[in-house]
Symmetry: C2
Subunit: 193 residues, 2 copies
């Protein structure tokens, strides 16, 4: 990994966006993934799939999620220490993925905050959308990622009141489901460009 291109917590700012390349969901691979992890008729059998809620063969939603991870790893997001997801706030599969679909990912930083208990790290919140070749969303989630902070000896953000508890912070772009408290923390804005 190119050390120079790694981003620390202080390098992330609300509103930054990252896009991925494209990855095609091959039919054989979708079948093999489903056979191993999601062996249900609408993922494995053409005729059964036509009679199902999907109207045709689909990839497992977990295959879509796994491919999304692959695409994210290859974006310019590149947090120092790697892409480490603590969890998702929400996750939806608004449309099925069919064999032959070509997927890409767009993501946006919607919150940045230092950890109150672990001074060496913080969290970024990313809204991540996986789109097919028709620019239709097939997977949308909000993920919380653990990101390393740059040394406090550097020029970056300092947190003299680190012992004061941080609440969850809502910032622009996170309109779909507000977290609490709703008031943006003014210190977070310092992480901006």
């Amino acid at each position: 990994m190119n050390q120079l291109s790694e981003r620390y917590l202080e390098d992330f700012a609300v509103g930054q966006t990252f896009g991925s390349g494209r990855l095609r969901i091959e039919g054989e691979r979708a079948l093999a993934f489903a056979a191993e992890f999601d062996p249900q008729p609408f993922h494995l059998d053409e005729a059964a799939a036509r009679r199902s809620i999907f109207g045709g063969l689909t990839a497992s939603g977990w295959h879509t999620a796994a491919v999304t991870m692959r695409l994210l790893v290859e974006t310019e997001l590149k947090p120092a220490g790697g892409l480490i997801g603590a969890g998702l706030d929400e996750c939806r599969w608004p449309r099925p993925v069919h064999p032959g679909d070509e997927l890409r990912v767009e993501c946006e930083v919607i919150a940045v905050r230092p950890s109150k208990s672990r001074p060496a790290q913080g969290l970024i919140k990313l809204r991540t959308t996986t789109l097919n070749q028709h620019d239709e969303a097939v997977l949308v989630y909000v993920v919380n990622m653990v990101v390393q902070r740059r040394s406090e000896a550097g020029e970056a953000l300092r947190h003299p009141t680190e012992d004061r508890p941080f609440g969850k912070v809502v910032l622009a772009g996170d309109a779909q489901r507000p977290l609490s408290p709703q008031k943006p923390n003014p210190r977070i804005r310092k992480a901006g460009p």
Copy 2:
């Protein structure tokens, strides 16, 4: 699939629990999954993994999620029409999974509600916990699943006021993050045993 063992919306009730068998995460398989979908040093390289936040090689969180799906398919949950996830309300990976870990799944029905717009179906909400061989949670999510309703000509639940909008419903066991409105809908209880 055994038709007799399939469950319709009316067969689900809040408080029902389902457990899975066990599945071992083989080291070679974890490496192959990570190489394809999550190619990061802490999933691929023993030495790099020791220096990482995890302190040793770990399976991709998406591998854990995929294995969880496999285990769910094999439980007695068996909704008519298949296990069809509309989305997750929340999802966390509280502990890493290491090669050799043996996983199993426990899940609990925490809400059951008919769809207001699609009379033939409804939603169940499941709290799903994936545990390792030490009974430690490694993945926890709340999933909304689309489930078919039994024909209205049958003995099952009827909804004369189906045109009245349903809100999201909170029922017992969903204490971790309440939804709104908080008041249980009395009609939901009719879906019980």
